[in-house]
């Protein structure tokens, strides 16, 4: 007896068999990591997955390193991603990608923005920020699968440099099994009307980046 299954049933079936996916997004306070995290979580939720996310507030946000974590699957317990546990690491700043590189699995995908933001420890604490070539070499050694993308430039070309977070999210989407439709719906749910078009285009630019 043959069964005909709807797309919804297909999605339910997929939810049952997939292992929990873990994604870590890092950057500097104010770069828009929380919005990217919200869109990702929303997209997974729309696909019927159980979802948990975690983010930092308060003292940690004042220009410091920030991280958001998203996990989705059939049933998610811990909202935190383990070391060596992230299927994907997305970073809006290159040094932050290196700082949290121990979160990624050996076969994980890293999507890293080429953007450099100098911490004050460099200007006043004697610390050193790696040169461009040096940083890139380190990133290539740290991540077996690396997409290194000038997200700020891509976003600026689309008219709003602040959409760099969504460019990174678009590139990340290639490494996840969520359908494009879910991403598009999640973006329209999470982004204000007047920024919607730019963010849609930023997402597409990231997704089509090679």
């Amino acid at each position: 007896m043959s069964e005909r299954r709807s797309a919804k049933e297909d999605a339910q079936e997929r939810v049952k068999v997939t292992e929990t996916k873990s994604i870590v997004l890092v950057g500097v306070g104010g770069q828009g990591i929380l919005l990217a995290s919200e869109i990702l979580a929303q997209a997974a939720m729309l696909e019927g997955y159980d979802v948990k996310t975690n983010e930092v507030h308060g003292m940690a946000q004042r220009g410091g390193s920030v991280m958001a974590q998203i996990r989705y699957g059939k049933e998610v317990k811990s909202p935190l991603v383990s070391r060596n546990g992230a299927h994907i690491l997305g970073s809006l700043e290159k040094v932050e990608a290196l700082r949290f590189s121990d979160y990624i699995r050996p076969d994980g995908l890293a999507v890293v923005s080429t953007q450099a933001i100098m911490p004050v420890t460099v200007s006043s604490g004697g610390a050193r920020y790696p040169e461009d070539a040096e940083a890139e070499a380190l990133l290539r050694r740290a991540f077996a699968r690396l997409v290194y993308i000038d997200a700020a430039r891509v976003a600026a070309d689309l008219g709003d440099i602040r959409a760099a977070n969504i460019v990174i999210l678009g590139a990340i989407s290639n490494g996840l099994d969520l359908p494009l439709l879910a991403w598009e719906k999640a973006i329209s749910l999470c982004v204000k009307e007047k920024f919607l078009e730019t963010n849609r285009r930023a997402f597409a630019a990231g997704r089509n980046y090679l």
Partner: protein, 582 residues
């Protein structure tokens, strides 16, 4: 309908659904968003930021005594401030359901200490609820309100940073019919003078026994039988981590961890070969399990210092079977990277005051807020932090002890209203001569820009009177009161110097709104004329994130610059000018 909600949003939703009509609190990470979300249900719910947690607690207690359901919100250290009303509200009992929502911060992400609020439940002899995700945060709040009302006891809902700030799916429900306020006079119940207080003392113990029956029988405390070789007792977020690390083990999951469900614990212990307690912070459950005469593992393999994680519990698992507890090593690629600690933002009005203090040989007793960051290099101008308000009182104590350097107390505006006023009163009354600087950035900035008695706006979004710090200072008896503009470095330095030198109590109000809240630049972005720059690097001494030290010398990052102009004022070469890229 299911929605993705943070634990704090879910608590607010729970309060709404439980028919709560009054919510009060004082902002504090990680608790702040509870009230910020609850106020979205206005006018069904009245919400306020009170000046401090003690006041907030009493406001909610008053609402409860009149018959309304209420919640009060705070971070763990806030409950220390509210401990006085907590201990006696337990005696006089509540009428409408009353829940104190208290958020602990294991790992000290944004706090000055780690403390375990569960101890307060035992201390005050009241029930405590510990959700482990957002759905439970909502459900437990509703249940806590109901149990509070049924047993006329205050209750605590305890979250941690990871419960409050994690998002997970929540099923939305309907709002219960709220209770109408209408106080019923009953002095033997509400007035704990000894003749009535002593019977209350007895009733507290009887109530605790009745609550224990609930703790034994309610599904909020449940046994999950799986493999019987290992049984784990856990609560809060630790339960989620433990389930991932020991998926095969049996669990006793405590949602209402006090009063302890002794019979349930005994039943669980007798059904498993070995027992392990997994809990974050204090060994609250473990001590009790041992007091019941049961043998268990716990603190010997699960640390009580800093927050737990799946990674840390994997180490515990290894230790449990006698293997090495190898925690994952940090990435080799993170070696030698420049640290990125939190910093005062570009354009922060506090920077000018700390820079000016740096020119003086003084001891600075500081306080809790963004300005705690003034302790870091290159400003290095905060010498102590104790608790809210201590910046003022400790300055006075140092001075009275005969401290050889002048002492300057530095507190924020919200902190001043919270606990600074009584300290200032003490200085005036007891003839101190400390200099007190209130950094008035017109908001409670660190926790995300909440209003306070000085801002002229309520949490309900209504305009109100804006109390002036200088007026309060004068009313406390301080006659030397100066108001300065911290973006004017010359004035700031001059007034601070002058007031430190004078042997009289002095109050300096440094007033400029937080640019992050205003969402606009202070002025036009500055730039450095490379040809004029002598490379003295004095501008770098401001610790401004917008000034980057490049190989060719300092450079101002135009997108980050908030245009406060401090760098222009410190530059001796007049190399810093208005205007972005040339």
């Amino acid at each position: 309908m299911r929605r993705l909600m943070s634990g704090n949003e879910a608590i607010a939703r729970g309060a709404f659904e439980a028919g709560v009509t009054v919510g009060a609190g004082y902002p504090g990470t990680p608790s702040t968003e509870i009230l910020e979300n609850l106020v979205k249900y206005k006018p069904d719910v009245y919400c306020e930021w009170s000046p401090n947690e003690k006041v907030a607690f009493e406001v909610a207690a008053g609402a409860s005594l009149s018959g309304a359901r209420s919640i009060v919100t705070m971070k763990h250290v806030g409950l220390n401030v509210a401990a006085d009303p907590l201990m006696t509200l337990s005696y006089i009992s509540v009428e409408g359901g009353f829940v104190a929502c208290v958020a602990d911060d294991p790992g000290m992400h944004s706090s000055q200490n780690e403390q375990d609020t569960r101890n307060y439940a035992r201390f005050a002899k009241i029930p405590i609820f510990e959700p482990s995700d957002s759905q439970e945060a909502k459900d437990f709040l509703i249940q806590a309100i109901s149990i509070s009302e049924q047993f006329k006891t205050p209750a605590i809902l305890r979250t941690t940073t990871r419960v409050s700030h994690s998002r997970s799916l929540v099923e939305i429900g309907e709002r219960a019919v709220p209770r109408k306020a209408g106080f019923v006079k009953n002095p033997p119940r509400f007035v704990p003078i000894p003749v009535w207080g002593r019977p209350m003392r007895v009733r507290v113990e009887e109530r605790l026994k009745a609550l224990q029956k609930i703790s034994e029988s309610s599904p909020i405390n449940r046994i999950e039988w799986r493999d019987r070789n290992l049984g784990i007792i856990s609560s809060s977020i630790a339960y989620q981590y433990a389930r991932e690390v020991w998926p095969e083990a049996s669990f006793l999951k405590l949602g209402m961890s006090y009063p302890f469900p002794d019979a349930l614990i005994q039943q669980f212990a007798s059904g498993v070969s070995s027992l392990l307690v997994v809990e974050e912070l204090d060994d609250f459950i473990e001590q009790h399990v041992k007091a019941l005469g049961l043998s268990c593992r716990g603190r010997d393999v699960v640390s009580g210092i800093m927050e737990l994680s799946v990674d840390r519990l994997r180490s515990s698992k290894a230790m449990l079977v006698g293997r090495d507890a190898a925690e994952p090593k940090p990435s080799p690629f993170s070696d030698g990277l420049p640290p990125r600690p939190p910093v005062l933002c570009p354009g922060c009005p506090h920077r000018g005051v700390f820079y000016a203090l740096g020119k003086e040989k003084v001891v600075v007793t500081g306080d809790i807020g963004c300005y705690s960051l003034g302790a870091f290099p290159p400003l290095n101008k905060m010498d102590s932090i104790l608790c809210m308000g201590a910046g003022i009182s400790m300055a006075h104590g140092m001075e009275k002890a005969g401290e050889s350097s002048p002492v300057v107390g530095v507190v924020g505006d919200s902190t001043f209203f919270h606990s600074g006023i009584t300290g200032l009163l003490d200085i005036a009354y007891n003839k101190g001569h400390s200099t007190i600087i209130v950094l008035d950035n017109r908001t409670t900035a660190m926790t995300g820009h909440q209003d306070h008695p000085g801002t002229g706006r309520t949490l309900m979004g209504e305009p109100t009177l804006a109390v002036k710090i200088e007026d309060v200072g004068r009313a406390c008896g301080i006659s030397r009161v100066n108001v300065i503009n911290p973006y004017n470095l010359e004035e700031t330095k001059q007034v601070i110097s002058q007031e430190i030198a004078i042997n009289e109590p002095s109050l300096i109000v440094s007033r400029a709104p937080c640019p992050l809240r205003e969402r606009k630049r202070v002025g036009e972005a500055r730039r450095i004329l490379a040809d004029e720059c002598k490379g003295c690097e004095l501008c770098l001494g401001l610790g401004c994130p917008a000034i980057e030290n490049c190989e060719a010398g300092p450079r101002i990052n135009e997108t980050l610059c908030a245009g406060c102009g401090l760098c222009q004022q410190v530059c001796p070469a007049e190399a810093i000018v208005i205007g972005g890229r040339a």
